[in-house]
Amino acid sequence: MASAKADINFEKELFEAANRMRATVAPADYKHIVLPLIFLRYLSLRYDKRRKELEVQLSDPNSPMYFSDEEIVREILEDRDQYIAERVYVLPEEAHWSYIVKNAKQPNIKEILDNAMKLIEAENDDLVGVLPRIYRSTNLPIENLASLIEIFSRDTFSSSSDDAVDVLGRVFEYFIGNFASSEGSRGGQFFTPSSIVELLVAMLEPESGTFLDPACGSGGMFVQSQRYSKNKYALSFYGQESVDLTVRLGKMNVLMHGINADIRLGDSLLNDQYKDQQFDFVIANPPFNQKLWGAEKIQKNDPRLITDYDKAVTDGNANYMWMQHFLYHLKDGGTAGFVMANGAMTTNNSGEKDVRQKLVDEGYIDCVVQLPEKLFFTTGIPCCLFFLSKNRDGEKGYRARKNEMLFIDARKKGVMVSRKQRVLTQEDIAEIAAAYHTFRSVNGKFESVEGFFKVATIEEIQGNDYKLTPGIYVGTEETEIDDVPFEEKMTELMCRLQEQFIESNRLQERITRNLEALIS
């Protein structure tokens, strides 16, 4: 416990130190300067570790790799394959952290950094398009850049520290989250707080298979899901993101966490990079209530649409286009879980309600979870989770439930960690996930909990005009019974009233006397 707290303090302190060097650069731009430096530090670290490993093996007379000839030793140490085989990227000398540190105070440090990025990409094919060349164009003063380099040169990040790689991965993630909380939101896009990601992942249980996040941002869902999966390589990750610099951050993020993910650039709704491909899982936090997103560019025969074009698409809100996108990319047997704005549960707008109606009637919606307010960093906006499934016919070990939906009202869950922000606790997440798992399970004994969760039939939902607000179905919690017996309560109230009557009479006399004195 103490060490976990110490870790957070360390990351926080580091973030604050880095943020002090921001000068006049906008917070939204600053992360694209800072995060690649962490990544560079990481590349050097991995390289140094591998090199040290080789040195030990080459100099140990008991090792099969032992060589006494210094020439051969040097040759092996410089052999690219020795690194590539261990999934370590090759670093030219002028891209190495030690070179950058040595030149941190040089007037051409910006050029050195851009050049380092270029050299790394030239040596490593799979990093092409990942590293930015923005240092020369930024107006960050070079002294501040030097200070940043110094911050990331601390001992904790050196190859002599055993868990330096893990620490860097955590720092990178922590920085992404904190930049998100300081830069606000744009166009309904909110950085997904980790407790929501954890809940989605805990409910979906993605242990193996393919996994798509078509609004993947900096890859937070992948990092979290991989933590859940017992076998590190059992999940294959695919992502799409519309902002180029964010795609780069996402690629760095997954690399630093040892995940192999295919992240592609483009607008998922208008320029789908995964046409005709289906996945076992879709997990996403799409932008909320996107307006004027380009609905007119959707073709009438777009295979994602589940009802007539006129009813399926509206430029007023992209929520239901996203849902059709998710559903389309699900394999038979697959499940999608995603974050949604609350309005989607009840909207009556055309182009939205018809889709919802269709999703209900066709039995695609598995579960809706209403979340408490204030889970996001930068907005108090309340939201919900939707689960769509193509696995509701009683196959693959799950229960047949095509005529049923699970509603969970989690508004009372979570604890406030600051005046503005709430998080779901591990117990909350376990409790909500358990309700969903029981609902899906063949042997699950399901009992509704008044005010928390309930299974409703499609007929009930139709009877409620297709509204999906969990509160309508789960009812309200038994309110605590005021256990003062009626007689006692009434006697107490009557005594109080008697006293108030007496006081009232006294006051009335006093007021009359006072006022009369004014005119006498």
Binding site: A341, N342, G343, M345, T346, G380, I381, P382, D409, R411, M416, S418, R419, G451, K467, T469, P470, G471, I472, V474, G475, T476, E477, T479, D482, F486, K489, M490, L493, R496, L497, Q500, E503, S504, L507, Q508, R510, I511, N514, L515, A517, L518
Partner: protein, 411 residues
């Protein structure tokens, strides 16, 4: 009347505001020393709703802003700047945060209540607030308060003025407390009859007493939705918006003239139940004491027959019903409840005789509440009329002793 003009600084022993304890909400406790914040300080009135408490250690660190009996409190920043009242005895021990300032009168020359009334007099308050500066954020500083000049008559006259105004305010406060008692009685009675079914002896299989049945809320009530164009309104017509409705209290004491109203409103009549549908968990529900118009975010509920009023009133103020409205409300940032859902709420419906008896009992409470509301409006009007005139000396008062002498002489 002999008046002296003096600076508040020369008539007080302490002027100072507090600090917000480190740790924010985490340091608040269920009991302990009160931490008074600007939301507790209203004009003439200390509001306990929202009062928080701090523990011994925090209180000890804030010893410098300890509250004494009869301290005058004034809000010095924010939207509620200038609001001023006396700390009630039962809120002590207490500390204040940085938005509230303590003014501790030197009792040998200044009556604290006189100071409170003086600062609440509209002209004086304007004069004081005109000095509040601070760029985008208005603030009264210690310096402004210290050097603010007030007119003070001799102590005996101050005491007399305070007695006249104070007796009115005490009655206003008492009426509010009486209304809370009436409301609690109505709630307790409804629960006793319609939730616990305690007065009844024989039950049927559906857990209802014999002769009862389950119905829905729309079998006993409806929403009266008559829109009115602002141009058609008499400008003295009362207007009630959500901002006038208190949370968790059926006493609707505040309204304004509709002359500022610009959009369509709903009409309501005296005795209708007004139900705030925006963020229903605030429990803004009350009985209309007058005819008027209200915001379209307020549902005007009427019983289908007059005899249903008691049941309807008892039902809609139950916490379980409010919870139901909250859980079925839609909308993202500003959840609103929907009559369509509320109408479906299950209510027990008794035989006519029981319904009528219950209605009479409830109506008696509600009539008392409405009568007190009107009495309070009259009391407030009287106080507001007298306040500037008493302070300026336009209405002269004699010191209490003189009056006593007169009474003795007369007797």
């Amino acid at each position: 009347m002999i008046m002296k003009t003096m600076k508040i600084g020369d008539l007080t022993n302490k002027i100072g505001s507090g600090v917000t304890p480190r740790g924010g909400e985490k340091v608040y406790q269920l009991e302990g020393t009160s931490l008074i914040r600007s939301q507790n300080v209203y004009d003439y009135q200390f509001v306990k709703n929202g009062l928080v408490f701090i523990g011994e250690d925090v209180a000890a660190r804030m010893k410098g802003v300890e509250i004494y009996r009869n301290d005058v409190l004034i809000n010095i920043t924010g939207d509620s700047i200038g609001r001023c009242c006396i700390v009630p005895d039962d809120a002590i021990p207490a500390r204040v945060n940085q938005h509230v300032c303590i003014l501790r009168a030197d009792r040998s020359r200044l009556n604290p209540r006189y100071l409170m009334y003086y600062l609440n007099e509209p002209m004086n308050k304007n004069q004081l607030l005109n000095q509040a500066h601070g760029g985008t954020r208005k603030a009264l500083t210690k310096g402004i308060l210290e050097s603010f000049e007030i007119n003070v008559p001799p102590l005996s006259i101050q005491e007399r003025i305070v007695e006249i105004l104070g007796s009115l305010d005490e009655k206003i406060e008492l009426n509010r407390r009486m209304n809370e008692t009436f409301e609690q009685m109505a709630m307790a009675l409804y629960k006793h009859w319609f939730v616990d079914f305690a007065p009844f002896e024989e039950f049927m299989d559906n857990d209802l007493p014999i002769g009862w049945r389950w119905g829905t809320l729309n079998e006993i009530s409806y929403v009266h939705k008559v829109q009115v164009d602002p141009s058609e309104l008499d400008e003295t017509c009362p207007y009630i918006g959500l901002e006038h409705m208190p949370k968790g209290n059926v006493t609707l004491e505040e309204w304004e003239n509709s002359n500022k109203v610009t959009s369509h409103k709903f009409m309501f009549g005296k005795g209708d139940i007004l139900f705030g549908k925006l963020r229903p968990y605030f429990k803004k529900v009350g009985v209309a004491p007058i005819d008027g118009v209200c915001s379209t975010d307020i549902l005007v509920l009427k019983p289908l027959k007059n005899e249903y009023f008691g049941m309807l009133f008892g039902q809609v103020i139950q916490d379980a019903f409010i919870d139901y409205c909250t859980s079925t409300s839609g909308g993202t940032k500003m959840p609103r409840c929907d009559w369509k859902e509320m109408a479906k709420y299950n209510v027990p419906i008794p035989p006519d005789s029981i319904r009528n008896e219950f209605n009479q009992k409830t109506a008696a409470f509600v009539d008392q509440i409405v009568a007190n509301i009107h009495e309070n409006r009259a009391l407030i009007e009287t106080r507001n009329y007298l306040l500037p005139r008493l302070l300026s000396g336009e209405i002269e008062v004699r010191a209490a002793e003189e009056q006593v002498e007169e009474v003795l002489a007369g007797g």
